[in-house]
């Protein structure tokens, strides 16, 4: 958990998946597929608020809760994520 600063996201490789984990200022934790479906932008580098992440390359926005794109691009995979003893635990079953 210490690896993710408040209000930002960080990417992790889990098996052969790349996952971006976000930690909004208001609390909570969200995990999305790290690669933007538009042109492959790095979502972990995007700006976030409580509800969405904005891709740094062309500003497509994705909901943190379910990965739905609100700007007309395809959706991204959302993963279940929780904090256990200060560790981030991801469930990759879809």
């Amino acid at each position: 958990m210490d690896q993710i600063p408040v209000g930002e996201g960080r990417a992790f490789a889990v098996g052969d998946e790349q996952v971006a984990v976000f930690r909004p200022r208001g609390g909570g934790l969200h995990a999305l597929q790290a690669v933007c479906p538009h042109r492959g932008g790095p979502l972990a580098d995007g700006l976030i608020d409580a509800a969405q992440v904005v891709c740094p390359l062309h500003n497509h926005a994705f909901r943190l809760s379910d990965g739905r794109c609100t700007t007309g691009e395809r959706s991204v995979q959302a993963y279940q994520v929780a904090v256990e003893d200060g560790e981030v635990v991801l469930r990759l079953t879809r």
Binding site: D2, Q3, I4, P5, V6, G7, E8, R10, A11, F12, A13, D16, Q18, A20, R25, G26, A34, V35, R39, G40, G41, P42, L43, A44, D45, G46, L47, I48, D49, A50, A51, Q52, V53, V54, P56, L57, H58, N59, A61, T71, G72
Partner: protein, 827 residues
């Protein structure tokens, strides 16, 4: 060897000789030239420029630009030049010319290239005696005229220019540069009435008046008033009114020099009458070329025809092409007055009932354009204010190429639609936003799907969210599609979308409530108290501008570029631009950059338009080490911030330099580097008006001018939008230039909307208003602006120092851990 004698060592005479030489005429002819003027051939056209730059103490350096044929040219080509010698008579039967120094030269072939002289309309008091003009009265034809004018202008207040044609306007503008108030007196109603129709003349008049030139039309100068010592003191007009002036320049037309031909028994009318081979109709051994010629009834007053004439003459006289024939020229002119763009070609008005006439007029902006088409060919065009189409029009005019069916395309680019083109006319598949590939059809569909505001459509389609240059057109299309159903979107005035306040209101609230961080602002002011990703960057920038060192920096409020101080690329790698202030680097820096590039396998090293070195394709994890190894400060090529100051080499090296542009650029960059602002700011400093650093198209551009002064232009752009900056002020010292630059930038930082570049900001505020605030300090805020700027300058630190202590955990951690970067091509 035959003897070739050329009378007149001006642009046509010398050009004809050059053409003869390139056709091997040096083998056939021994060449002798006579020139009334005591120099080699010079470029008469540049006299306007010489006058305009006149106050230049290094003006002599222009010599090689001005002189087309220096003395060596005559020597090297074995030409005997009698400079300062006038030919007074030709004995056609003895084949001899007689000159005023007593010399007599035999010829086999003779070329007359005597040009024209200024025409002085009969006016009381114009002449001191039979041959000498009243002291203070000048023609504008020769280098001597120009030099004499410049000499006389020193310390004078006011000049009258008689004749408002091309030459007169150029003279008036030139005299202004010498500090004189210029009055143009023109007999006709319309200025430049040779080339322009009445409406164009009126638009031009307004543009000149805006430059401070006073225009009197529809009146003549009947008398020159003189002081008791006989020098000019004023002019009297037809209606008896008078104007006090210190000097008078007469540009009331030119008259071909045909006296020599006349006394030598050659056919002359308005000019020396020649056939299609440029030979006198009376004498096969005598050719004539240039402005002194009358061909098929036409006499020309521009250089283009004489280039064409000179080739035909040379082809014929050397036998290179005995069939060569001249068929007349089509005329295109441009006014060489800084700040007023005028180009005209062919007809100025339709003449026949079925001539097509396309006219576009926007007098408020000084724009007036017409094209005239006959039988599907362009036969005339006038461009005022905006001459961006002059190249393609000239081509259509010269080559008589077929024209587009839609005539309006001659004046406007419809391919890359601009807002001026009616939105309704566009085809559905026409691409409107070229950055994001959005067509008109998509925009219309979006409206049909229920979007009711321009902002809504832009959000849904992302049209206009790239470079932004299509925004106007997008708005037009949406408005048209809504058919009057447009809901004005109050959000458009908001500084950030989630807080319903414009920028000044927001700033007041922030200051009153003492909000020093983005999260505090969201909590107190946002509609639902929630933070909003799309507003964070704008808010962070504003807060830093307002609070300087007191700003509470929340890293998550920054765009990725500002988190890692580098510019993100398409594959998630970054570009790194070290500080090279003013574009001046050292061998040691270059060596280090080269080593770093090799050590980190940098895919591309590129020189940027801002005179920096860009290391592209750097992996995020490598950034701290790249910075450490470079051991140079950040060049700030990534943020919405002060970016670069481009400079030219200026007075230290350049032979034209009037000021030390390099040092001023470095100083400005060192002082203001990295300052956050609503949008990026690119600057430049040029050492003279040749403007090698492109100062006229920068957010702030500085140009050294005569007398240690500096011009400051603001609001220029040469990106997706192209705009020439407006002259904010001319200051007397470099310190003032630094201060005023800072004050303007601070005003811009405080008042521009988020992402509003200076080229939109300056016209929105208006130049007069800006001057009043920033230069004249009408509102008494200059001191505060300067202090605020100083605070921001003091709060600066080099972000690349973060390589020692990352600001956040995983600051430089790979965001696509499984993707092998770089994916950008490696060169």
């Amino acid at each position: 060897m035959q003897e070739l004698v050329v009378v007149g060592n001006g642009m046509a005479g010398a050009r004809a000789v050059e053409e003869i030489l390139t056709r091997g005429g040096g083998e056939t002819f021994r060449i002798t030239m006579f020139g009334d003027e005591p120099h080699g051939n010079y470029n008469r056209i540049l006299l306007s420029e010489l006058l305009a730059r006149g106050a230049d103490p290094d003006g002599q350096l222009l010599e090689e630009d001005l002189f087309l044929n220096p003395w060596e040219w005559y020597r090297e080509n074995g030409i005997t030049l009698h400079a300062g010698v006038r030919v007074v008579r030709v004995d056609r039967f003895a084949h001899r010319v007689y000159a005023d120094d007593g010399s007599i030269v035999r010829y086999d072939k003779l070329v007359l290239a005597t040009g024209s002289r200024s025409f002085f309309p009969p006016t009381e008091g114009l002449w001191a005696d039979n041959k000498t003009l009243t002291p203070g009265v000048f023609g504008f034809r020769t280098l001597h005229d120009t030099m004499a004018m410049m000499r006389y202008a020193r310390g004078k207040q006011r000049a009258a220019v008689i004749g408002g044609g091309l030459l007169g306007l150029e003279a008036a503008r030139g005299l202004q540069a010498h500090g004189l108030a210029a009055h143009v007196v023109h007999a006709a109603e319309g200025l430049m009435n040779q080339q322009l129709d009445a409406q164009a003349g009126r638009v031009l008049r307004r543009s000149l008046e805006r430059l401070g030139i006073t225009v009197h039309t529809g009146t003549r100068t009947t008398a020159i008033r003189r002081t008791t010592d006989g020098a000019v003191s004023g002019v009297t007009f037809t209606d008896g009114t008078t104007l006090d002036v210190d000097m008078v320049v007469v540009t009331a037309g030119i008259r071909p020099n045909i006296g020599l031909a006349m006394v030598s028994g050659l056919e002359t009318q308005r000019g020396i009458v020649v056939d299609d081979q440029l030979r006198s109709v009376d004498d096969d051994d005598i050719y004539a070329v240039g402005e002194c010629v009358q061909h098929r009834g036409e006499v020309y007053g521009l250089v283009a025809p004489l280039w064409e004439q000179a080739t035909v003459l040379a082809d014929h006289i050397t036998g290179a092409d005995p069939q060569a024939a001249y068929h007349g020229s089509r005329l295109a002119t441009k006014l060489k007055v800084a700040g007023v763009d005028v180009a005209a070609m062919g007809l100025k008005e339709p003449e026949r009932p079925d001539d097509e006439f396309v006219q576009f007029s926007e007098p408020g902006r000084g724009i007036y354009q017409t094209v005239i088409i006959r039988d599907g060919m362009l036969v005339g065009a006038t461009l005022l204010g905006d001459i961006s189409k002059v190249a393609s029009l000239t081509q259509a005019f010269d080559r008589r190429v077929p024209l587009p069916e839609e005539r309006i395309r001659l004046l406007f680019d419809l391919g890359a639609p601009t807002a001026e083109v009616g939105a309704a006319e566009l085809a559905d598949e026409a691409q409107v936003c070229n950055c994001n590939g959005v067509s008109k059809g998509q925009l219309v569909a979006c409206v049909r799907d229920g979007q009711r505001t321009v902002g809504g459509v832009m959000g849904a389609t992302r049209a206009g969210k790239g470079c932004g240059s299509c925004k106007g057109l997008v708005a037009d299309i949406v408005e048209a599609a809504l058919g009057g159903d447009l809901e004005t979107d109050p959000a458009e005035a908001y500084y950030v979308p989630c807080i319903p306040m414009d920028k000044p209101t927001l700033m007041t609230e922030i200051r009153q409530r003492g909000l020093r961080s983005s999260s505090a602002v969201f909590a107190e002011l946002a509609q639902d108290g929630a933070e909003h990703a799309g507003s964070k960057m704008a808010l962070s920038s504003l807060l830093r501008t307002m609070w300087g060192e007191q700003y509470i920096d929340e890293r998550d409020g920054r765009f990725i570029n500002d988190r890692v101080h580098a510019n993100i690329q398409r594959d998630g790698t970054f570009s790194v631009v070290p500080q090279i202030a003013g574009g001046v680097t050292t061998p040691a820096q270059l060596r280090r950059i080269a080593e770093v590039a090799e050590r980190y396998n940098i895919p591309l090293l590129k020189l940027t338009g801002g005179q920096r070195i860009d290391l592209l394709g750097v992996r995020k994890e490598d950034l701290p080490r790249v910075w450490a190894d470079l051991d140079m400060p950040s060049g700030h090529a990534y943020g919405k911030s002060f970016r670069t100051v481009k400079t030219c080499v200026g007075s230290d090296f350049c032979r034209f330099g009037l000021g030390d542009s390099t040092q001023l650029g470095i100083d400005i960059e060192q002082r203001y580097k990295g300052l956050e602002s609503p949008a990026k700011m690119k600057l430049a400093v040029s050492g003279c008006p040749r403007n090698c650093a492109e100062s006229y198209v920068k957010d702030v551009g500085i140009v050294a001018v005569e007398g240690g002064r500096w011009e400051i232009y603001v609001g220029g752009a040469a990106g997706a939008t192209v705009r020439k900056g407006d002259l904010l002020a001319t200051v007397d010292s470099r310190d003032e230039a630094v201060t005023l630059t800072g004050r303007f930038m601070q005003y811009y930082r405080e008042n521009a909307k988020w992402l509003e570049r200076s080229y939109d900001f300056v016209p929105r505020i208006g130049l007069t208003e800006l001057r009043a605030i920033v230069v004249e300090d009408r509102d008494g805020i200059a001191g505060r602006l300067d202090e605020a700027m100083q605070d921001s300058v003091d709060a600066y630190y080099d972000p690349w120092q973060e390589h020692r202590h990352p600001a956040t955990p995983g600051q430089f951690r790979d965001a696509l851990p499984l993707v092998q970067l770089p994916k950008v091509p490696i060169r």
